[in-house]
């Protein structure tokens, strides 16, 4: 008799595990975490870009004294971009995301303008330090776009997983996760500084 109830218990446990794994609870949690991680990657690259700017401005200042306006625009855009923060729990908020992406896009546009102006100063372009910064900035822009693509892929996976059946039922009953926003490339940031030699 005892072995019978024991067997019954095991069966129930197996059934529960099977049900739990097919309802998508864990899958949705994993997808949610993947989005958070992808977002953290974007943020760290954006931070890296913001960190490069003061040095860049300093070097350019030494050679291009007449470009005060552009330089100030870059500094202001940087200040604004670093002030607009987006915590991972705000990824579901379309307005917060739009504000964030606009601020970053404006910074990209200001940097793009600066990189065009630099073309007028051959001495600056020949400067070793400036070349280094330029390579770093290009690399960072490229990393940002890769991170953005990965983030958007993660969001697509996540959004689909909370909508597909039967995961949608689990979500509406248990998890109550919301759809997350894509990080769209702003018009300004599409013109990432492409350096011509």
């Amino acid at each position: 008799m005892k072995s019978l109830t024991c067997g019954f218990n095991i069966m129930v446990a197996c059934l529960a595990v099977a049900l739990f794994s097919s309802c998508g609870y864990n899958v949705m949690q994993a997808n949610d975490e993947a989005v958070m991680k992808a977002w953290a990657d974007i943020e760290s690259q954006l931070q890296r870009r913001a960190d490069l700017i003061p040095n860049l401005v300093e070097v350019v200042k030494g050679y291009a004294k007449h470009e005060k306006e552009t330089l100030t625009a870059v500094i202001e855009a940087r200040a604004k971009a670093t002030s607009v923060q987006l915590r991972p729990d705000m990824l579901t908020d379309p307005r917060a995301m739009a504000a964030f992406s606009r601020a970053q896009g404006e910074l990209s546009a200001a940097l793009g303008k600066l990189m065009v102006i630099v073309e007028k100063y051959p001495d600056l372009k020949a400067n070793e330090h400036f070349r280094g910064l330029q390579h770093q900035l290009e690399g960072t822009e490229n990393r940002i776009s890769v991170a953005r693509q990965r983030y958007n892929d993660a969001v697509a996976t996540f959004n689909f997983s909370i909508r597909k059946f039967p995961y949608s039922i689990t979500n509406s009953l248990l998890l109550k996760l919301e759809k997350k926003e894509y990080f769209k490339a702003d018009e300004g940031s599409k013109a990432a500084p492409k350096v011509q030699f």
């Binding site: 070349r131 770093q136 690399g139």
Partner: protein, 299 residues
């Protein structure tokens, strides 16, 4: 009339559905080896020299470097192109992500060093840019592609050296053989003897092979690994299955009186021999990941 319009609609849909594919499908050439000279920029002796250098680097440091030359970029930027190559080729070891792709587009006169996640600390963007600007560009400008590739690859190798030593890097193929101890030899002989015995027993009686397999497999398992009571039941099951299969094999010999095919068993069951040598002909990426690091330049 209706029918024709319908057919036209279907046709239009078909065309429309193909267009985006044609627009976005970037054709990435397949990975041939370490040096993929699709644009014919490198002379054969230099190609061999580069290949040897890169193979040596992978042997000592496990870092993988691939060179790709293409005639043109099919209308995308070199950064996008090289990222697609990185995604497809997966150069670098899986956990270490220590791959580098040196991409040159001949017609566009553009080049890029794409650096895997794991090497970003050593081969920084600045360093990659310097290698391109100082080592490669002057030679490419002068039309001496060979020298440009040699200096560029030397620069990359110097930059990535030291970050991942063979000692702390799990290389796919161990370069040094682990010495086989007497116990290992003993257990290998034990397994061979067991398989031979099972086939011979199966030749006579099928069920006897199952019992023999179940009985002798656990002790052999303990001999080749370590004693573990947990292994007894699975070992017996495994042995039973082995006995069943080998016994059936032996039984099949009886009916067909076939020749020796059990020699083949001892080859792939224990991978001691399959580790030893593997030619670099079919070189492939180890599953490394790239995050967009590196630098681009032109000439």
């Amino acid at each position: 009339m209706m029918k024709r319009r319908f057919a036209a609609m279907i046709g239009l849909c078909a065309v429309l559905s193909v267009i985006p594919c044609a627009l976005f499908a970037l054709e990435i050439p397949p990975l041939l080896g370490r040096v993929n000279d699709y644009a014919h920029m490198i002379s054969p002796p230099v190609r061999q020299q580069l290949d040897a250098k890169l193979a040596e680097l992978e042997r000592t440091d496990s870092t993988q470097i691939a060179i790709l030359t293409v005639t043109d970029l099919q209308g995308v930027t070199i950064e996008e192109y090289s990222m697609e190559v990185a995604k497809k080729w997966k150069i670098g070891q899986q956990k270490l992500n220590n791959g580098v792709i040196f991409l040159v587009a001949k017609e566009n006169r553009k080049m890029r060093i794409e650096v895997g996640y794991g090497l970003e600390g050593r081969l920084t963007d600045i360093l990659a840019g310097k290698i391109l600007d100082r080592e490669v560009r002057p030679h490419f400008k002068a039309g001496d592609f060979d020298q440009g590739f040699i200096q560029g690859v030397d620069g990359i190798i110097q930059a990535v050296r030291g970050e991942y030593r063979a000692s702390d890097a799990p290389i796919r193929r161990p370069s040094t053989h682990s010495r086989t101890s007497g116990r290992d030899v003993f257990s290998i002989f034990g397994w061979i003897a067991l398989i031979a015995a099972l086939i011979i027993i199966g030749y006579r009686k099928n069920y006897a092979a199952i019992i023999a397999g179940a009985f002798f497999t656990p002790p052999l398992l303990f001999l080749s690994t370590a004693f573990d009571a947990m292994l007894i039941i699975p070992g017996m099951l495994l042995g039973g299955i082995m006995g069943l299969i080998l016994g059936m094999l032996g039984h099949a010999f009886k009916s067909s009186s076939g020749s020796s095919s059990y020699g083949g068993y001892s080859d792939d069951s224990w991978s001691a021999s399959s580790y030893s040598s593997s030619s670099s002909d079919s070189w492939s990426g180890g599953g490394g990941d790239f995050g967009g690091g590196g630098a681009s330049s032109d000439w």
